[in-house]
Amino acid sequence: MLASLKGLWVTLTNTFKKPVTAQYPKQHLPVARRYMGFPVLMWDEGVGEPYCTGCMVCIRNCPTLCMSAQMMDNPLFKEGKSKRRKIVESFEINFGRCILCNICVEVCNFDAIEMSHQHELSVVVRNGNRATLPRLLEMGKEFQKEVGWKPKGAEEGAKEEATP
């Protein structure tokens, strides 16, 4: 029974240590900088339009076929305000299907789509979480503000800062 006494001692010593759990809905643990939440679209502050041109490369590469998009001529290009000839007209991501694999971000040539830190998007309806362009851009702006996002083309070679 001596080994059992040892076991009792182990649990007893643990009793007087600090609990390691967090009270979830009240207390949110911080996520890492690289955390891959749901993908969102980025907003180009300088021009005032999304980075996304609706080129569909992410859609072709998505393993679960959770996105769809449409492209249109960019009105700002005609006015000479933007360098983008085409711009996204509509974009939809079904967050219920998305598996957060980061492939869309990797294949994107325009830094237009990023994995946000948003991960608490539960709904009660199947397919009830389809995000359209305005919502995606809204979430994207939030994410940009949260992490101080810059397009990768601008910070080439610059390393990501370490995370808490």
Partner: protein
């Protein structure tokens, strides 16, 4: 006559209320204790530090739909919770909390308790059979075997305790411990009583008949709502009974040296001791894995029952030859330690030895490998 009836009704009502309050506190205490053992927080939301959580649980259980399986044996299914519940409450009629603080102080109090505590087995087996569920049947059969075998060591230990003050009256037994608690005279008895008591109420490491990972709740698998709540209540009342009995029989109850003899002090003393024993039971639950049914039986029949006879024999020798108290205490302690060491030696020792051997072998193999590579 009528006055007696009213008094008894009030007393019983008070008892039931008090026990329900105790059960609620135990539920909270268990959840918190286990949480702390596991470095969690436990219930924190309902009330300060989750104090009202058991109340919320109880309310939830009462309003929950009570499902009865279509193929269940309905009379058995309905009666089983009551058959488990009533004996566990009836016992309390004779348990004193202070010198003159019991519903009925009986001369054969301990006999009454032991006799009634066996009855709840019937209820568990009824629940197992009546649920029309194979897991429940398995659990019911297990419980019958387990509970009956573990009655014997308890009874033997209780007899050894009775021998010391020559009385079955709990008040007399406690008063007999004014000088020295029986836990110091019979440490072996206390250990056996605790182990067998834990088995009797079916808590880990002896929760075999409703082991969640094997028979998924055993006899109680099909119960829900209020029916299940009754079982739950009975389980906690039984746990508390074992704890209070341990406090009364071994830890000196309300009688401890150098304390005022006021009733409320005694009452508090019993309560504190009982809760400490309960904490130990919860601590066991947080630490040990459970045994298998055949191991449980062989532990009961081959270890606990012989040991309880040894305890009985030691006490008898002490009384017959009029030996000193210290000799009984030391002999009892020695037997306890020897048995504990034997079990350790037989189980853990060989395992440790083989583990060392194997590691040495694996390390030797690695050394050859690395020299070859170079």
């Amino acid at each position: 006559m009528l006055r007696d009836l009213i008094v008894i009704t009030i007393q019983v009502f008070a008892l039931v209320t008090a026990l329900t309050a105790v059960v609620l506190s135990l539920v909270w205490l268990e959840r918190k204790t286990l949480a702390r053992l596991q470095r969690r927080m436990g219930p924190m939301v309902v009330g300060p530090h989750g104090l009202l959580q058991p109340v919320a649980d109880a309310l939830k259980l009462l309003v929950k739909e009570d499902i009865i399986p279509a193929l269940a044996d309905k009379p058995l299914f309905w009666l089983a919770p009551l058959v488990v519940f009533v004996p566990s409450f009836v016992i309390w009629v004779t348990i004193p909390f202070a010198q003159s603080f019991a519903v009925r102080n009986m001369e054969l109090g301990l006999f009454f308790i032991v006799a009634f505590s066996v009855l709840s087995i019937v209820g568990v087996v009824m629940a197992g059979w009546g649920s029309a569920n194979k897991y429940a049947v398995l659990g019911g059969l297990r419980s019958a075997a387990q509970l009956i075998s573990y009655e014997i060591p308890i009874i033997m230990v209780v007899i050894a305790v009775i021998m010391l003050p020559h009385s079955m009256n709990l008040v007399t037994i406690v008063e007999g411990q004014r000088a020295i608690p029986y836990a110091l005279l019979q440490p072996l008895g206390l250990v056996i009583f605790l182990l067998a008591g834990v088995a009797e109420v079916g808590r880990t490491p002896f929760d075999i008949y409703f082991a969640e990972s094997e028979v998924m709740g055993g006899p109680f698998i099909e119960y829900s709502g209020a029916h299940w709540a009754v079982f739950f209540l009975a389980e906690y009342v039984n746990t508390f009974t074992i704890a209070v009995l341990a406090a009364l029989l071994f830890l000196g109850g309300w009688a401890f040296p150098l304390m005022p003899e006021a009733t409320w002090v005694g009452f508090l003393g019993v309560l504190v001791k009982a809760y400490l024993v309960v904490l130990v039971i919860f601590w066991f639950r947080g630490t040990f894995p459970r045994l298998r049914i055949d191991q449980l039986m062989s532990f009961g029949w081959k270890v606990l029952i012989p040991l309880s006879f040894v305890n009985f024999g030691l006490t008898a020798a002490y009384l017959f030859y009029g030996l000193s108290r210290w000799s009984l205490a030391l002999a009892s302690l020695f037997v306890t330690a020897a048995v504990a060491y034997t079990i350790y030696r037989r189980m853990t020792w060989p395992a440790r030895a083989t583990a060392e051997q194997r590691l040495a072998k694996a390390r030797a193999y690695r050394r050859v490998e690395t020299t070859d590579a170079r």
